[in-house]
């Protein structure tokens, strides 16, 4: 039975037009949006942040939705960092304010403190190169989160690695070790070694390795691994250098290759660096990394 209704003429025409045209228009809209994103870059965002740098002010404005806003600012901090990393920009100006705002709005946002501890201190282009900001941030975090031993740990690492203040580093490790949840033994040992010897490759490796094990943030983990590998390489090179000295004492000249050391029975095995490349012998018996190796030894360069 035909129910040819007049609704079909007027509405279906409009609906059909909508169904056909709207998806096409949305494709165009997406294209225009992509273009807008490319054009505007970070101009507007940067200037926007400038106005709202005051954490306490923002907290008042947020009308009680502080933690939600904190999450948004935390996300923005991560994006900002990722953005600038990609672009190999050497400026991370807004990272500290963004993290500061996020942690003011939500003082218990531990992940933000930990992220800042690493990436505010890291030298560019890996980070902002401002260990002082990092220390401020972590101290702020400890004040609101006394039961999070990882923050004490981060503080200790900062003092030890970046600021070379061994006394404060030792204190921080010790404070952290008092927390029942912490790996007390380890931290006490670190506290002691740092106090006694100041900086050493072994202690540094220990500190980074512990961070690698304890952190949940993937980017922090990567960074820690980076440092561990670099230190492993440095320690191995130091040992090879000692082997070189022995060779000199024995044969009156420096070895020209690792194989010579092996032949002399001074080293055994394959001797590869953490990236899998074999160590090579440089001039004057100074062992070096294979030129193709990605391991960055300069990271924690110290006088042997």
């Amino acid at each position: 039975m035909s129910t040819h209704t007049l609704k079909i003429t007027s509405q279906v025409r409009a609906v059909a037009l909508a169904l056909v045209a709207i998806p096409i228009l949305f494709v165009a809209i997406a294209a225009v949006q992509a273009r807008i994103d490319a054009l505007s870059g970070s101009v507007t965002q940067q200037k926007e942040e400038l106005l709202l740098r005051s954490g306490p002010m923002l907290e008042k404005l947020s009308l009680g939705y502080g933690p939600l806003l904190a999450d948004i600012y935390w996300t923005r901090a991560v994006q900002y960092f990722g953005n600038h990393m990609e672009r190999r920009s050497h400026s991370f100006e807004l990272l500290a304010p963004l993290l500061d705002i996020a942690t003011t709005l939500d003082p218990k946002l531990v992940i933000a403190y930990r992220f800042g501890a690493v990436f505010l201190a890291e030298r560019p282009p890996g980070g902002a190169g401002r260990p002082d900001f990092a220390v401020d941030l972590v101290k702020k975090g400890i004040a609101s989160n006394r039961d999070v031993w990882q923050l004490n740990y981060d503080l200790g690492l900062l003092y030890y690695m970046r600021l070379k203040d061994y006394r404060k580093a030792s204190e921080a490790f010790l404070d952290g070790s008092k927390n029942p949840a912490a790996p007390a033994e380890l931290m006490k040992i670190m506290a002691a070694r740092v106090a006694e010897n100041g900086e050493s490759l072994e202690t540094s490796r220990l500190v980074w390795a512990e961070l690698y094990n304890s952190t949940k943030d993937e980017s922090v983990r990567q960074r820690a691994l980076f440092h561990v590998q670099a230190l492993d390489a440095q320690m191995a090179l130091k040992k090879l250098n000692d082997n070189s000295e022995e060779y000199w004492k024995k044969f009156g000249r420096f070895p020209t290759s690792i194989q010579e050391l092996r032949d002399a029975g001074l080293v055994q095995g394959d001797l590869k660096d953490p990236a899998g490349y074999p160590y090579v012998m440089g001039p004057n018996g100074v062992p070096q990394l294979d030129p193709h190796s990605p391991v960055p030894v300069e990271l924690n360069q110290q006088k042997p």
Binding site: K7, S10, Q11, V12, R13, A14, V15, L17, A18, L19, A21, I22, L25, F26, A28, I29, A30, V32, Q33, R35, I36, D37, L39, S40, V43, T44, Q45, K47, E48, L50, L51, I72, T75, R76, V78, Q79, G82, E218
Partner: protein, 259 residues
Amino acid sequence: MSTMPAAVAVNTFREAVRDRVLYNLIFFALMMIGAAILVGQISIGVERLVIVNLGLSAISIFGIIMAIFIGVGLVYKEMEKRTLYSLLAKPIRRWEFLVGKFAGLLLTLVVNTALMTLGLAAALFYVSRSFERSDVGILTAVYFILLELALITALALFFSCFSSPMLSTLYTLGIYVAGVFAPDIKGVSEYSQSPALASLARFVYYLLPNFHNFNVIAAAAHGETIPFALVWHNTLYAALYVIVILLAASAVFSGRNLK
């Protein structure tokens, strides 16, 4: 045929003017800008900055309130009050009626915004005794606010076709707020660990109207010029999106039985 929407638009504008809503808001906005002058006295050296920021923000906020407040009643009121009965018996198509209502409210907003911009200009002149070349940025910011208002008006009109004013207000506001946080949605799509979530976020990012595009208030306050390419693209974006919404509204309204 092309005069139908124009007639409806003029009448819609006339209604807004005769409803005293318009006058109150202008008055209020002017008051705000007056207050800005006082604030300028307190902080030396940043009077311009504060006035432009405050003024543009007020223009934006009041425009949004008006767009939503009037917009959600555009079609709903005519259906409730049955004024549509005699109107639709005339040789006017339903979509022409919608376009006319949209244009009428937009016209109202343009006039309103223009007046408020004059107030802002007056306040700015009062404070710094001169205009600078970079003040053109302010006009660009106002233009962007109008683009934003056009989008909001279209949204409110769309909901007005089938939903009560209260619900329409909620829906429109909801979409607006979501649109303001568009960059954060984009961020999820770029940095999320889960590919499924990232794809969803990307889809939502392009689907929702991106109101963040139009916020150049901070840039204008600092006297930056907005590149023409951006102005053109944002205009295009707003126009395309408005067309989408009006098409959807027409699809809904064309089959609607009036009570």
